[in-house]
Symmetry: C2
Subunit: 256 residues, 2 copies
DNA sequence: TGGGTGCTATTGTAGTATGAATAGAGGATC
DNA sequence: GATCCTCTATTCATACTACAATAGCACCCA
């Protein structure tokens, strides 16, 4: 549909890459409902005015992320949400781009709340000088940041450095999810400069605990930091409101 | 190289699917080193006796998992491990298939040790009757299992049911990683029937705590369960041995 | 010696042809 | 009337070819 400048995110320029982004976003936002069948390759590629080859390559990439499934005769079907690879950076990007998807954003912050405090504790045991240096640079960058855009990079670096310090490849991989999430979170919750600066001491507390080798303090400092960040987002978007939390107690219906 | 029966995992039968599996495994096991360039599409597809079309579709799927990166003129390059999507089910499968990759297996169990106790705690707060039913069926299946193969399914169902009970899509996605991990773990650590049966009460303890709505007990019961499972694997493969743990304190060198 | 400038290998895209698989309709059989 | 089988049409799967776009690299010229 409308294809605006879309400066920031990913910015794939190849034909198949654009289709991946466009179709991926449409699927994640629910424009194509799970269980539904996409138009046939021939029809859809013609409609998009691209070759069937490029279209198929895009579909293959989406299939690799668990979003769709192609079978002869049947066609290409959108899989159930429970089958999607939610931990894929692109899927995360699309989910956050989709405007404030409250359900997803809430799940994501809950997930961070599990991972990152534990990662901070591990980092306090295993941090190397290089990791600490990256954290310090992140802190300095945050303290110096004037605009929102100047803030995101250092913030991201700081959290990534902690994940990297754990030496755990799976935790490091989570850093790839953080980028779209942070970028879009800040785009949504437009916290002002004063508020951002207020979180610098919280970040510093995490750093000090890691530097001193105090895992439990690092864990709780990180938990507190994330809690504050969630509060900011809540106020803006309303995720995590009481209604949402209550609703979450029953929808385990999800019947595969 | 040798292409044995490979009964269990994925078992893709399409041409491009086989290439994805084969290339993916070769990259993850290090047969193609990060930073190296694959042979050109024309050469490699000819060598494999498949069309360039199918080969490219396979490459696209691998690119979607962050394993490779294609650019005109340069070719297709294997990306650094830190860029891989380690939380992709296929990548997990290849990493475990690769024989006992101690480094990865240890990271994976550490990761489970972070996620699953927290998930169990959340499940104790949010579980629905359907979730509890699935857990009960899993327990019953484990108790009744004679062979190793009969055990894996119920075990997997049990852990997935807990993740599902959290209602958190990201946690549910982790269930996709569990399947290859459990399958291969049991293939490696061939624990005997008596030992498996000994873990049934541990699983039951987790279930009871969740059923009763006691988050802290669920968390610690799950942590204990995973600890025991890790002990089994350690004895077989040597992951997590003292040497390994000690070595992990410094290799944060991982540059970029 | 330095810098611009083609050459060329490689991926990207397109179009077409053929094959294989299967859902579903329709017919045969009991 | 119900069940099973066959047959067909649709769709994806694979292959092959041609050309465009890109960018590394060597070469040439000032």
């Amino acid at each position: 549909m409308e294809k605006p400048v879309r400066s920031a995110p990913s910015a794939r320029r190849s034909v198949y890459g654009q289709i991946v982004d466009e179709l991926g976003r449409q699927i994640v936002t629910g424009e194509f409902e799970p269980g539904s069948i996409l138009p046939s390759e021939g029809d859809y590629s013609a409609k998009l005015a691209v070759s069937r080859t490029s279209f198929r390559e895009a579909i293959k990439m989406l299939a690799g992320k668990g979003l769709v499934e192609s079978r002869p005769k049947t066609g290409t079907r959108v899989r159930q949400r429970s089958q999607w690879h939610m931990l894929d950076p692109d899927v995360t990007t699309w989910a956050f781009e989709a405007g404030p998807d409250r359900h997803y954003a809430r799940a994501f912050f809950e997930f961070r709340g599990i991972i990152e405090p534990a990662a901070a504790a591990l980092a306090a045991e295993r941090r190397g000088e290089a990791d600490l240096g990256r954290m310090r640079r992140g802190l300095a960058g945050m303290a110096a940041a004037g605009s929102r855009d100047e803030w995101i990079g250092p913030d991201l670096s700081f959290h990534r450095a902690i994940l990297a310090a754990t030496g755990n490849e799976l935790l490091i991989s989570l850093g790839h999810l953080l980028e779209p999430a942070l970028t879009e979170s800040f785009a949504i919750a437009n916290v002002d400069a004063a508020r951002r600066q207020a979180s610098v001491p919280l970040h510093r507390a995490v750093y000090v605990a890691i530097d001193d080798g105090r895992p439990d303090d690092a864990r709780s400092a990180m938990a507190y930091l994330l809690g504050e960040a969630l509060v900011d987002l809540e106020e803006m978007v309303g995720i995590g409101s009481n209604v949402e939390v209550a609703a979450l107690h029953e929808p385990v219906s999800d019947p595969k």
